[in-house]
């Protein structure tokens, strides 16, 4: 792999193109975390009493918990008292329609490639735009409502559909689940809420775009998706943040509930700022995502492309409770420079004839460290459960690391669990083959890497697949040589 060194240099120095800061006045609460802060957040959102109580319970639980240390991640300790837990762009008056959204915000999202204005909207994609701690706009709301689909920010849902929120909040990820989930439950500020009624097939892709802008803030959003009997929804999530030398914390919780015969497809393209070439700055991404196939014949699939963040700690899982339910996890995780990712999935087989598929592709370059950590658990009553896991790692460069820690816990003799993993680099023969046919080394690598990830990308919605494949190119540029 002998590409001219100067081009590699040039490419490697290419800037993170979403690294700008929007100069906007923010409504910020004081630094630190205590019960008053939680009360303040809850008051700002004008929440009903049950929400505040739930938050306080979560906070009290969080105080008794310890930060998990088992992950294969190394980072300097997080000072939870030095974080601003709420920051919202100042708005002159309550938002009636999109036209009243601050020009600056609209420009920001446009720059990020997410136009919120009516005429420029992405056809067929409804977007909920979250800026720091609050949702600033949600498109196609009315059109969706005609079908009975509720798609709005979490704060709105708490106001307008408290019964639904109360019924499902914390049923998949209880606040006591883990340290970061407890923290999120205490301080979460916004996020998206989606409810698809019985038998409805959501006609468009739903999407949330998360943007961190303010300094020293943490983003704690919460997403809840409920798919009623026989419904279908496809949801996408994207995220970016400005370039800063300091680390910012992002601790989100996502809960999915699929009832009988419902299907939820959840796709993520995570592109938080990853830190510079020396590993300074970047987002700490500690996320708890879990879906519950509560009804028979339901199906939840997670597809993720993780290219950003200095630290990724994320294990989207599926609780396969309904009989014949299906859980899927497709992941591409890229670590370059000093990025670290410890990611994987949890498949808990409870119901009969439940099936799960895990395909994980890890790519490590530079000094990156990429860990797959997954659990497949088959409980005694999960007759005929099946799992297939494949996790492959590609190593680019001799300073990086790739690790695989699959856990298999099987308690049922009629089930079958398979795990396969391999780790290798792109062989010189493959590069030679491509070069011989007139491709540059750089193109050859990009082609091989894309081929390596194809199995995952094909599960992404069209718009995302193109984006993901471009993103992969950018993340890895300069790592080949």
């Amino acid at each position: 792999m002998n590409t001219a060194p100067d081009t590699i240099e040039a490419l490697a120095n290419r800037e993170y193109k979403y690294g700008f800061v929007t100069p906007i006045e923010s409504d910020v609460i004081p630094r630190g975390l205590n019960e008053d802060i939680i009360r303040m957040i809850s008051a700002k959102k004008n929440e009903p009493e049950f929400m505040l109580e739930w938050r306080l319970r979560a906070y009290r639980r969080w105080l008794t918990m310890e930060e998990p240390k088992w992950a294969n991640l190394h980072y300097s300790p997080i000072n939870y008292q030095d974080i601003i837990y709420y920051s919202a762009p100042k708005q002159k008056k309550p938002l009636g329609s999109l036209d009243e959204v601050d020009e600056e915000l609209l420009r920001t999202f446009e720059k990020l490639g997410i136009p919120l204005e009516e005429q420029k909207r992405l056809a067929g994609v409804a977007v909920d735009a979250v800026f720091d701690s609050v949702s600033v706009a949600t498109t196609f709301k009315e059109k969706l409502l005609e079908l009975g689909i509720i798609f709005c920010s979490f704060s709105e849902a708490v106001q307008n559909h408290p019964d639904l929120v109360r019924k499902y909040l914390g049923t998949v990820v209880p606040y006591s689940d883990n340290y970061f989930a407890a923290l999120n439950s205490a301080v979460f500020s916004d996020g998206s809420f989606c409810y698809v009624p019985k038998g409805v097939r959501c006609p468009m892709e739903l999407s949330t775009y998360f943007r961190i802008n303010a300094m020293d803030t943490g983003q704690f959003e919460r997403t809840l998706i409920v798919a009623e009997e026989g419904s279908y929804v496809s949801y996408m999530e994207g995220c970016t943040a400005p370039i800063r030398d300091t680390n910012q914390l992002h601790a989100a919780v996502v809960e999915l509930v699929a009832l009988e015969r419902a299907q939820i497809k959840y796709s993520t393209v995570q592109n938080w700022y990853a830190g510079d070439r020396e590993g300074r700055g970047g987002i700490y991404n500690f996320v708890t995502k879990r879906g519950k196939c509560a009804g028979d014949n339901s199906r939840i699939s997670w597809t993720q492309v993780e290219t950003g963040s200095a630290i990724t700690w994320k294990y989207p899982g599926v609780i396969l409770q309904g009989n014949n339910s299906i859980g899927e996890f497709y992941s591409v995780a890229v670590t370059n420079n000093y990025q670290q990712a410890d990611t994987g999935t949890k498949m808990i087989h409870i119901g009969k004839n439940t099936r799960s598929t895990i395909v994980s592709k890890g790519i490590s370059a530079g000094h990156g460290n990429n860990t797959y950590r997954g659990l497949v658990k088959v409980l005694p009553k999960a007759m005929g459960a099946r799992n297939y896991t494949q996790c492959d790692s590609l190593l680019l460069g001799d300073q990086c690391g790739a690790h695989t820690f699959p856990y298999m816990e099987v308690q049922n003799s009629s089930s079958s669990v398979e795990h396969e993993a391999c780790t290798s680099k792109i062989s010189d023969d493959q590069i030679f083959y491509c070069k011989q046919r007139g491709l540059s080394a750089e193109n050859a690598v990009s082609m091989i890497v894309n081929g390596f990830c194809k199995e995952v990308f094909k599960n992404l919605p069209m718009e995302f697949a193109v984006e993901a494949s471009k993103l992969l190119g950018i993340s890895l540029e300069g790592s080949v040589g």
Partner: protein, 447 residues
């Protein structure tokens, strides 16, 4: 799991007594090694399920029971007929027999001729007559800090086997080390040291058995050094009584262009844990680890293997299979670590489990940790049951359900056993597998 308070720990009390009596005559380096090991144990205690490495295996039943070493002046003598079934039908080979961890000369034998300078003897004798021989080697590759059991073993080193092969030496056939436990509450603290110098070649068979149905505890550590161009084949056959406890650690250091192979069969004991750590410490090293575990009743067998590719151009192969029945629980944890700069590593690992009962558990955890880029590493693990189609094939040809099940299960195990190159051992293992499967009673009588 509760940790026993240090003051009340019988092992430490026992050590303090022995330190003033039996161990007082040891050379100073050895005494300080013992002391360092016991203080490590005093600090760390027995591992608990809070530790990742022991998450699925609770040793509280060992920690709370009181196993005692059998007094040194008591040598168990019994009719040699009793151990006959464990001898592979061989009369000639070099054999050291240990009863409750102590050497029994009466039962042991040496072939008429061993190559010059080759030593096959019991460690206690070496420590007494020429401790310099083992000074640089003992605890070099098996650090007592790895776990509480290794620390305990090091503190109480008494006896075990010492096998030394000088440059280019070769022992014909194999060296058989037989460890017999026959007493309730007996602690057999076995320490083996095998040093194979440049260009030498040896096969070692360690077998662990029980007489009667005794509930004894074997805590064994084997250190193996394979120098350059040497070859060591190691067999460990553990078939102790269903009331026994077994904790075994084998630490291997493989030198340049050398090869090491290991075969491990675990069929006995109530609770067994095998740690097998192989370090490929110089370019060109090779190791192949094969394992088979057969569980029934309420047995708990845990196999932890770790292969460290410390230098480039090394190959490793690992193939472990398990048959897990009734209320038993099997744990497999296979770790392959490729350190920075260990380029051109080729590592493959396979683990397959046959789960025959709903009350049985399997915890499989293959792990790859890779810090070099020019490597080929794969692992695969499966947990499954008997193939319905294979059963149907048999049944459609007039073979009953029970017999068909037994045949398929036997075939599953055979894949590992068939890889044992030494015929007498292979036949012995084959019989052992058949007997064990018959015990499990799944139509065994039809076979």
């Amino acid at each position: 799991m509760t940790r026993i308070p240090i003051e009340a720990n019988p092992y430490i009390e026992n050590f303090d007594i022995l330190e003033k009596t039996e161990f007082a005559k040891d050379p100073p380096w050895f005494r300080s090694l013992r002391k360092a090991a016991i203080s490590h144990f005093a600090e760390k205690g027995f591992p608990t399920t809070r530790e990742e490495e022991w998450r699925f295996t609770s040793v509280s039943s060992i920690a709370t029971a009181s196993f005692k070493p059998v007094p040194a002046n008591r040598k168990d003598l019994f009719a040699s007929g009793k151990i006959e079934p464990f001898l592979f039908g061989l009369k000639e080979c070099a054999r050291l027999v240990f009863v409750n961890g102590l050497y029994c000369e009466m039962l042991s034998q040496m072939p008429p001729r061993l190559p010059s300078r080759v030593r096959v003897e019991n460690l206690a004798r070496v420590l007494e007559e020429s401790p310099d021989l083992v000074e640089g080697h003992l605890a070099r590759y098996a650090p007592y800090g790895n776990n509480g059991f290794s620390a305990l073993n090091t503190a109480f080193i008494r006896d075990g086997a010492y096998v030394f092969l000088p440059r280019g030496a070769e022992i014909e056939g194999f060296v058989h080390l037989l460890f017999v436990g026959d007493r309730n509450e007996a602690l057999a603290n076995v320490r083996n040291l095998i040093v194979a110098e440049r260009g030498s070649r040896v096969a070692i068979v360690e077998s662990f058995v029980s007489l009667e149905d005794s509930a004894h505890f074997t805590n064994t550590v084997t250190e193996i050094q394979v120098a350059g161009d040497a070859s060591v084949d190691h067999y460990k056959i553990q078939n102790e009584s269903s009331r026994a406890f077994h904790i075994g650690t084998t630490e291997v250091n493989v030198g340049k262009d050398s090869r090491f192979s290991s075969f491990s069969l675990s069929a006995g004991s109530r609770l067994a844990r095998n740690n097998l750590n192989v370090c490929l410490d110089a370019p060109g090293g090779e190791c192949a680890l094969y394992g088979l575990y057969l569980l029934s009743g309420s047995q708990h067998i845990d196999n932890h293997t770790m292969i460290t590719h410390a230098k480039p151009y090394c190959n490793s192969r690992e193939f472990y299979k398990g048959i897990v029945d009734e209320k038993s629980r099997a744990v497999f944890n296979g770790r392959v670590v490729v350190v920075k700069d260990a380029q051109k590593t080729d590592a493959r690992q396979t683990n397959k489990n046959l789960l025959l009962s709903d009350a049985a558990h399997v915890n499989a955890k293959p792990q790859l940790e890779i810090f070099a880029d020019d490597v080929k590493c794969t692992h695969g693990a499966t947990v499954g049951q008997l193939d319905e189609e294979a059963l149907f094939y048999f049944k459609s040809r007039g073979i009953g359900e029970g017999a068909a099940r037994a045949l398929i299960t036997y075939g599953f195990a055979k894949e590992v056993v068939a890889r044992v190159p030494v015929e007498p051992i292979r036949l012995h293992l084959d019989r052992l597998v058949l007997r064990k499967l018959k015990q499990e009673g799944k139509g065994g009588e039809e076979m």
